[in-house]
């Protein structure tokens, strides 16, 4: 096979494989069990020391987890379920620290640091035409 054709084939193979992987990434749809696990990790057990209801073996946490399971089965969305618990237990119940007023800083700061770092990194690059 001519060199050129081989190269094109190689690129095509790579793109084809990437497309299959991309499909697997995009087509990921969480199962009810995965949602339960995810939500269980995002809700704090109110009677334990900062552990989630998914991680705590206490009866209280077990009951809350069972409630979440029922809510998922009843067709409630993740947001609805989280709001349900927030309304009953204050915002401290959320372990995923949603970016509401008091926590904007928490979420924004890493991006600010990343931006500052990127700026510094780019500024070490030699300007066009500059010599050593």
């Amino acid at each position: 096979m001519p060199e050129r054709l081989r190269k094109i084939a190689s690129v095509l193979i790579t793109v084809g494989l990437a497309a299959i992987v991309a499909y697997g990434v995009i087509a990921a749809e969480p199962t009810p069990e995965e949602r339960l696990d995810d939500l269980g990790n995002r809700i704090a057990c109110p009677v334990c020391d900062g552990t989630s209801i998914a991680a705590s073996p206490s009866t209280y946490a077990r009951d809350m987890l069972a409630l979440v399971e029922d809510q998922i089965a009843a067709g409630m969305s993740d947001d609805e379920i989280l709001e349900f618990f927030e309304a009953r237990y204050t915002a401290a119940i959320r372990l995923d620290a949603p970016a509401t007023s008091g926590r904007v800083l928490l979420w924004a700061a890493p991006f600010a640091v990343a931006a500052a770092g990127l700026y510094l990194a780019l500024s070490t690059r030699r300007r066009n035409g500059e010599r050593v």
Partner: protein, 672 residues
């Protein structure tokens, strides 16, 4: 007797450390100063303190408050030994011992070529020693006499060795969680070797700044120290996760617990520093940045100690509230202010780095690595401290849990894997796209092929899939690179491939040690993608004779059992695991109740197979039946293997480089 001997040891170490500071300082001024005596006093005192503490524990000397409160006659030998670092005061004794050990080793290598830089580093290490032994002599004295006790609880104690001891017939015993697994004897010393080892590069950096020699010498001199500390820290963290998995029974090994974060923070920055110091040694870049990293890394080890040892955070590692907290906080502030202040004063001496020619180059990959690791460290830091700060300033309690950390950690780790894969194939200075493409084409196809295969076999998951693809990419880049070099060399030398491979990775231990670590991290990433991303779980209620199933495994509850050890009583369930009717294993998850200590702690039952772990934790057990959590963790063993391989890479670099230097008597420059 033990109280007296212990007190003398601590004072000897304190005086030795102080003397070392003064003598070392004289030595940096070019004056004749013998460091031999202070070092002997310091190290001897530190060793004696640990020996006396061990003797007291092993002979059940309950006249010491520490022994009465944390040990018991029935505690098994191994856990008596481990009790020396299982509580606040003792853990500081271990810290002091490890620090003295490192100081001694630095002194030994300095003695061969005495210079002011090394003497200055010994001054800094002595100062740190004065702080820790000063704490032992005052607010965290492990040798206080128990002066008043009720039952096996020691209520009051006195630092005076001549104080009259209350009669305590039996101690309280260690925390149940800390006497439940052999790893408790190994994990803390490993972690301390890592934590405290990072004092060495810090000490040399400080010395270089103070003596106005901010060149490359300090980084070169501490290369092996940093790698060794990093190796211990890596293994210590992995063993900690393993312990958590085998003992706590919550079904995992990493929870972004503040204490885990405290060990992970210095690891992230030490990793960044190892990479950026390569760039400095190779291309002279990032000199100022390396100072920032080393100072920050050391500060984070002190911060970590503060977080875990002060009671600021409730966790299995935080002992009691005490004056140690403010002392460590003070130490942290002094460290940060003095070291960054010194850095600022000397910043005009730090050479202007040569500039980066192109972001698409090996240096660019290193820069990306540093940026990602620094942001990663910042995310972990702010996530850990945010709840504390909010609570301190507004009184509100807010939770920052696993979901927050995961949200950043997963994409950051993915990006790190990509940089790890691209780094080694990028030439220095400028990487032309054509060359890079030629080198990554095959690894890219292999990794995407593996990903596509998983998708075809039914896997639908975003991050686990992407992580596996990136990790396989890293491994195949390294593997193919090695194979190419080996093939070329075996043709030239007419030898077989095996010996060629061995010779190549021996020939450049700095580079190949790093690549071994990269393979370890990639394996770890695959393990995490499987065990965390693709796990399944169920809670089951079973009566004797009943069975249930999860992920293709059936498990039957056959019978309960009880047994009695010297220090604990055990209640458990015998579970028979089968797959398609074929027996797989018999496993016994159980609940332990320790004499003298509070609530029962579970011990999970784990069945490890090549495809993953089946993990059982008893929630409740009575005559009617059991309630049990069951997990299926795919590829769990890769987490442990990957972590240990990563640590081994560090060991390889240090040991093989030393061997190579011994051969040539000239420092080999790593071409990583």
């Amino acid at each position: 007797m033990n109280a007296f001997l212990g007190g003398v040891s601590i004072l000897a170490a304190l005086v030795g450390a102080g003397w070392l500071v003064l003598a070392g300082y004289r030595s940096t001024r070019g004056r004749e100063a013998a460091l031999d005596m202070p070092i002997k006093l310091y190290v001897g005192g530190a060793v004696m303190a640990m020996v006396v503490l061990q003797l007291a524990l092993l002979t059940d000397d309950f006249s010491l408050a520490y022994v009465a409160n944390h040990s018991r006659t029935t505690t098994p030998f191994v856990f008596k030994v481990a009790t020396a670092w299982a509580a606040l005061e003792g853990s500081i004794v271990l810290w002091g011992l490890v620090l003295a050990g490192f100081t001694y080793l630095v002194y030994r290598s300095w003695r061969r070529h005495p210079d002011s830089l090394g003497a200055g580093a010994l001054v800094v290490m002595g100062l740190v020693g004065v702080f820790f032994f000063g704490m032992m002599a005052t607010i965290a004295n492990p040798f206080e006499i128990c002066t008043s006790a009720v039952g096996s609880n020691c209520l009051a104690s006195s630092p005076a060795p001549w104080a009259e001891a209350a009669a305590v017939a039996e101690g309280r015993g260690p925390n149940p969680l800390l006497q439940n697994h052999i790893l408790m004897a190994i994990h803390p010393p490993m972690l301390y070797l890592g934590y405290v080892g990072l004092t060495v590069p810090f000490a040399f950096a400080m010395s270089a700044l103070a003596l106005a020699q901010p060149g490359i010498e300090w980084a070169k001199r501490t290369k092996s120290w940093t790698l060794a500390a990093w190796m211990f820290l890596t293994v210590g963290i992995v063993l900690g996760g393993w312990w958590s998995y085998e003992v706590l029974g919550w079904g995992g090994y990493w929870a972004w617990d503040p204490v885990e974060n405290a060990s992970f923070l210095p690891w992230l920055l030490a990793t960044a520093y190892i990479h950026s110091s390569f760039v400095q040694m190779r291309r002279g870049m990032l000199q100022a940045w390396n100072f920032v990293l080393v100072i920050s890394t050391f500060s984070l080890t002190i911060l970590g100690t503060f977080l875990t040892r002060s009671g600021a955070i409730a966790s299995v590692h935080s002992f009691t509230q005490s004056a140690v907290g403010p002392a460590l906080l003070g130490m942290l502030l002094v460290t940060v202010v003095v070291s960054f202040g010194l850095f600022a004063r000397r910043s005009h001496l730090v050479a202007q780095s040569p500039r980066l020619e192109s972001l698409s180059s090996r240096e660019g990959a290193f820069l990306a690595n540093n940026l990602l690791l620094t942001v990663f460290a910042f995310v972990v830091l702010i996530g850990t401290l945010f709840p504390l700060l909010i609570e301190a300033f507004s009184g509100d309690t807010i939770g920052v849990g696993r979901p927050f950390f995961d949200q950043f950690a997963v994409p950051l780790s993915f990006a790190l894997l990509l940089a790890m894969g691209l780094g080694p194939v990028m030439p220095y200075r400028v990487a032309r796209p054509r060359i890079v493409w030629e080198r990554v084409r095959l690894p890219l196809q292999i990794s995407l092929g593996v990903g596509a295969l998983l998708v075809i076999r039914g896997l639908r998951a975003a991050w686990p899939l992407l992580s596996v693809v990136a990790a396989v990419f890293v491994i195949s880049v390294i593997g193919l690179h090695l194979l190419r070099l080996a093939r070329r060399s075996s043709e030239k030398r007419h030898e077989r491939l095996g010996p060629s491979i061995l010779r190549i990775i021996r020939g450049d231990p700095g580079f190949w040690g790093g690549q071994i670590s990269h393979i370890g991290i990639a394996l770890l990433a695959i393990g995490i993608a499987g065990s965390a991303g693709l796990s399944t779980t169920a809670t089951v209620d079973l009566e004797p004779g009943e069975s249930a199933s999860l992920s293709g495994y059936e498990f039957a509850y056959t019978s309960p059992f009880t047994s009695q050890d010297a220090n604990r009583s055990i209640t458990g369930a015998t579970i028979e695991v089968t797959r398609h009717g074929n027996p797989v294993a018999i496993v016994r998850p159980r609940v332990n109740t320790f004499a003298g200590q509070g609530p029962a702690v579970p011990t999970p039952g784990v069945v490890s197979r090549a495809s993953g772990d089946l993990y059982f934790t008893l929630i409740a057990i009575n005559s009617a039946g059991i309630t049990m959590d069951v997990w299926w963790f795919p590829l769990q063993w890769l987490v442990w293997l990957g972590g240990l391989v990563a640590g081994f890479g560090g060991l390889w670099s240090v040991v093989m480089r030393r061997a190579a230097e011994g051969d040539k008597e000239s420092p080999a420059v790593a071409s990583a």
